[in-house]
Symmetry: C2
Subunit: 234 residues, 2 copies
């Protein structure tokens, strides 16, 4: 596959071109749209969402290294919302990587069906994924030379710690929080499966201590840091 850039290389190229590490979320909420678009949304939610996203993309395409639509905000509008998601993907310039924030997690053959849907049918460059189901559910996303997967280590929400921070024993004696064990698994998966440019991590901006620990374990992987701004991250 000579000549094919890995997902990490594509993000790096966009970041250098635009001198930016900013990934912009595309999370439509009709109730918060300007009045004219909100009115249009009452009868044509897909059209209103696409018009809103087009304005954001046109205003920011030279300022970002990636776009990240969040699946949930499209599903909230049913089939019309999903049509808007597909049309949103199509209006993003090809040289800017796209990450579908879908927090994928399933067993092997079902994960392959998700990969067909999100990467082939919808055409996204990468997805976010939840690690709890293990290797075989993640593999369909990192085996493509130019696509990628960003795996959740530590999220930014109030309830995150209930499981992500439980203490896991290692070597029968020492302990580490589960989110660090996840980071170590990501490092193993990236090394063992030969996909160093395809596998990254997600760590919320509200967890700076955990972010530093995960960065130490994954010095070269792409790390997505959501939550700057509205969620109170620094």
């Amino acid at each position: 596959m000579a000549g094919v850039m890995s997902f990490a290389e594509r993000v790096r190229a966009a970041a250098e071109r635009n001198d930016s590490l900013l990934c912009v979320g595309l999370d439509p909420d009709l109730a918060r749209f300007p009045a004219a678009l909100r009115e249009r949304g009452a009868g044509d939610p897909a059209g209103a969402i696409v018009a809103f996203n087009r304005a954001i993309v046109e205003a920011t395409a030279d300022l970002v290294c990636a776009y990240k639509p969040n699946l949930g905000f499209y599903l909230a509008y049913g089939l019309a919302g999903l049509e808007a998601l597909v049309r949103t993907r199509e209006l993003i310039p090809r040289e800017i990587p796209t990450i579908l924030d879908a927090k994928v997690n399933d067993i092997g053959h079902t994960a392959a069906a998700y990969a067909t849907g999100y990467l082939d049918q919808f055409g996204f460059d990468a997805v976010t994924a939840n690690p709890y189901l293990g290797t075989d559910g993640l593999e369909p996303f990192w085996r493509r030379a130019d696509r990628g997967v960003l795996i959740i280590c530590r999220t930014s929400n109030p309830g995150a710690g209930a499981l992500q921070d439980v203490q896991v024993t290692r070597d029968g004696a020492t302990a580490a929080p589960l989110n660090e064990i996840v980071a170590r698994r990501i490092a193993e998966w990236a090394e063992r499966w030969g996909a160093p440019g395809a596998v990254g991590a997600v760590v919320g901006a509200t967890a700076p201590r955990e972010l530093a620990a995960v960065r130490a374990i994954l010095p070269d992987a792409p790390i997505l840091v959501p939550g700057v701004g509205t969620q109170g991250g620094p």
Copy 2:
């Protein structure tokens, strides 16, 4: 909300009516359809999938306690597949509970958007969910009197153990596998949030030892046990 049956009560009623604890998956794969439907699927995937599912539902509606479409198998056909999912929900008799196997997981306000999509727009009675993000991501699914959420403890796939079986310290000394900690969290959530009929668990049939441990922790909760048959479960 007098008169509203909880999700667990609705499953129990269907199970008693049909004398069955069987939950039938609706996981369409056009490549494995009968020839005539496969041909139809080439030009009209939504129509072929709905025809296939209608035949299954008509043949089994008096033999099951629930139906469980798996989101991934619909997403693999893009927007047409999602249209088929919505039409499949509509053809299932209202007295039989439906579980969308979507393995939902996100932070609070995004989880609320997913609940709007899966429960209101698509009309499913319950979803499967991944617990890794904690309480606030699950709450939108158990706060509705007649809906529910089935939370993954231990899955049936080869890579399941990588995280689900790591040893977590408790009380500073004793240790338990993470999937048991998840079962204990589910018990706490169901008790604290007053939703005993809305919260259940998922444990793969290929993990009978883990299933027994989870059942001991959750004696009354609905437990979904996928993997009997094709995945080699007993």
